[in-house]
């Protein structure tokens, strides 16, 4: 598809077929780890929505699907670390197996905060699954249990991930042109 907004892209980092291949592997791994269990997959809005929908259908288990919406304060390329929960889980997770599905872990602050928040509700188990890991930006010690791709410290958008609410609908993961976010 010939995206007009594709003009803002420096390069395609991970194309749609490569995403699909990796998600199938992740789906298999998660299905093997949770066989016989009723997994509750919690998608973190808005960034993880596309990843979440694609991953869920590759896990051949009776999944429970639910969502939380969180946002770092401030907009743009630097996340401050403080997280606000706009929409909390509307069900009890006590005694359940929970998997948090997030788009990207950079500083680690958001996922650490979410993990601690949900752990306090006493689930049977709590793991995290991240499409992208950007270890170069880590500020706190945090390693997701499942990682799609480890990426360099570049300005990444697409496949659910935005810059100023744009580019989420790109079907691939790309790097944004510097001129777009520095103007």
């Amino acid at each position: 598809m010939d995206y007009e907004i594709g003009n803002d892209i420096e390069k395609v980092l991970i194309d749609a077929p490569a995403i699909k291949v990796r998600l199938a592997e992740l789906g298999k791994q998660i299905a093997a780890d949770y066989t016989g269990k009723e997994l509750l997959m919690v998608g973190i809005l808005r960034g993880a929505a596309v990843f979440y929908a694609d991953l869920a259908r590759l896990i051949p288990l009776p999944l429970h699907m639910n969502f939380m919406a969180v946002s770092s304060y401030g907009q743009g390329s630097e996340s401050s670390g403080a997280v606000r929960i706009y929409y909390d889980l509307n069900e009890d997770i006590k005694g359940r197996d929970v998997l948090i599905v997030e788009d990207i872990v950079d500083t680690g602050l958001t996922l650490k905060y979410l993990s601690e928040t949900l752990s306090a509700r006493k689930p049977a188990s709590l793991k995290t699954c991240c499409l992208l890991d950007k270890p170069a930006r880590r500020k706190v010690d945090f390693t997701p249990d499942y990682i799609g791709f480890t990426v360099p410290d570049e300005f990444i958008i697409g496949y659910g991930i935005d810059y100023a609410e744009m580019y989420r609908n790109l079907p691939y993961i790309g790097v944004l042109k510097r001129t777009v976010y520095e103007k």
Binding site: L45, V50, Y52, R57, A69, L170
Partner: protein, 177 residues
Amino acid sequence: MLSDLAKIFITEEALQKRIKELAGQINRDYKGGELVMICVLRGAIMFYADLLRNIDMKVVTAYIAVSSYAGTESSGAIRLQYDLDEDIRGKDVLIVEDIIDSGGTIKYLLNSLMLRKPNSVKTCCLLDKPARRKTDYTPDYTGFVIEDEFVVGYGLDYNEKYRNLNVVGVLKKEIYA
């Protein structure tokens, strides 16, 4: 999970083909514009993700969660669990829903969003079950018009199961009867 289905109603290929057609229509209708696409949680998530990646314009994604009050299925009373994070005043808005049966939820949402004075609001629905309609309503974009059967999969659940199936299927009677 597939073994709980009496039959596959809409295959993965048919779903994806139809979604591409819908996206093409939406791309033409809003050409050059900017669209706020609202996903109605949780049922529409699969449809929404697949539709979104085929939309070729500036899109702001947004989510809304609704639920019917327990035991009042037919009364049409809807509770907004999670409201939009942003102002839609002056914007072109597209509500993306999984299924329209009685029409109560979509009509409620439409009325509620219209009060916020958007430039336009349209609705896009994967499945339309007109046999169940209790109020006069036709979505602007419809994926498939279906008979009054118990459908699950591709976001639609029965007791919170089957949402992650990549097809729309009809559930076996012994599962829910």
